[in-house]
Subunit: 216 residues, 2 copies
Amino acid sequence: MSASVITYDRGMGRWEPNARGRLAQAALTLYNEKGFDATTVAEISARAGLSERTFFRHFPDKREVLFSGTEMVRDLLARTIAEVPATAAPVQAVGAALGAVCGIMQEDPERVRLRDSVVSAHTELRERELIKLAMFASVMTEALIERGVSERVANLAAEQGVAIFKVAFALWVRGPDGSKLTDILHELMAEARGVLGAVSRPHSCAGGSSWPTMGP
Amino acid sequence: MSASVITYDRGMGRWEPNARGRLAQAALTLYNEKGFDATTVAEISARAGLSERTFFRHFPDKREVLFSGTEMVRDLLARTIAEVPATAAPVQAVGAALGAVCGIMQEDPERVRLRDSVVSAHTELRERELIKLAMFASVMTEALIERGVSERVANLAAEQGVAIFKVAFALWVRGPDGSKLTDILHELMAEARGVLGAVSRPHSCAGGSSWPTMGP
DNA sequence: CTTAGTGATGACAGTGACTGACATCATGAG
DNA sequence: CTCATGATGTCAGTCACTGTCATCACTAAG
């Protein structure tokens, strides 16, 4: 409540440290309190005791504040795939990498659920989430190629892994409290094989009008 | 202030028809000529002989102009899955639906490639593309549930189908000219089964620090 | 013919995200 | 002390997008 005391009540140094963290915290709080759209960058900055301009020095846009840990996950995925024994199949390497990410998320389920409620409530944020997942697939693809896997198989394994991860996360995040994301992921990876098992020659179906780009 | 007597200097009176089409055409042209970011809505509107305000009456935002056919594809997916014989497995229904979409795209490969070059060149547009694909998965999931498939399997089949579609499209759009997207899709669906065949109990890997949301 | 209703558009004045340019103020190296 | 550096403030500006009202053509009564 007393957040109004913007003036540096800080005797010792100059500006408070951890500006980035304060901005992120203020943003998450406000996004929850008022919703993403109703929250202005000016408000976030004010609550953090910083100027609007400074917000954009730390985050390229209003959404990115919720996705700042993405690089760490990217590195984890790449590293895990690189470290998996060479005897492992591509899909096993993918499973290990995604399992590592699951492990991280399980460490703080509450925060994950809170963040998910903010993200899933707004289209723009869901878009960013999809970009993040696409990046995961891209990173894993490259890491697999590094292992000597063909581009085609690497891409396929990575995209399928991410697809399964999406389903697992959705089940977990709104499932019972004690459940383990890693368990769900591995269950689904096994199930997925069965689901694809029925592939034969699909039925043909004639197409409709024209490509969904635009009118004349 | 002054009632701004701009009055239609448009000789014949009457506004030209097909405003939406002209806007879409002008936008695609300008996005190609100058790039997406460098193109302002004012320019698009001017080239179409309309006001900026009118642009936003036809398209909710600057990107949507490239994605106006999405609803038609959504309907095609839902309809195709509903029409596939009840004996078909979920993954076959998904294959048939995506095959139908492939059929549409094959009708005008040049336009698809042109549009792809615009979309893949800009992050914001790629985001929209991912939303579109996520919507495909969502629509197919619901259509499968209508057929009596469990939510879990429906979601899995749809997400995997879309994942494979993404890979197929990427291969096709920058592949040789004569190739058929439907063929690539079906090849990959068969391969995907093999890729997942190696699933066993994935290696475990300890996680790192904390969830990728934000700092303190 | 006149009048009122409708639908698409123009005009205008915002709001808010984001950027560029420059000033300011502590800290640390010399 | 001086100067460079890095983080921030301040200000002006662009542009996507919105709300509101006026305008024009067309149409259907009256």
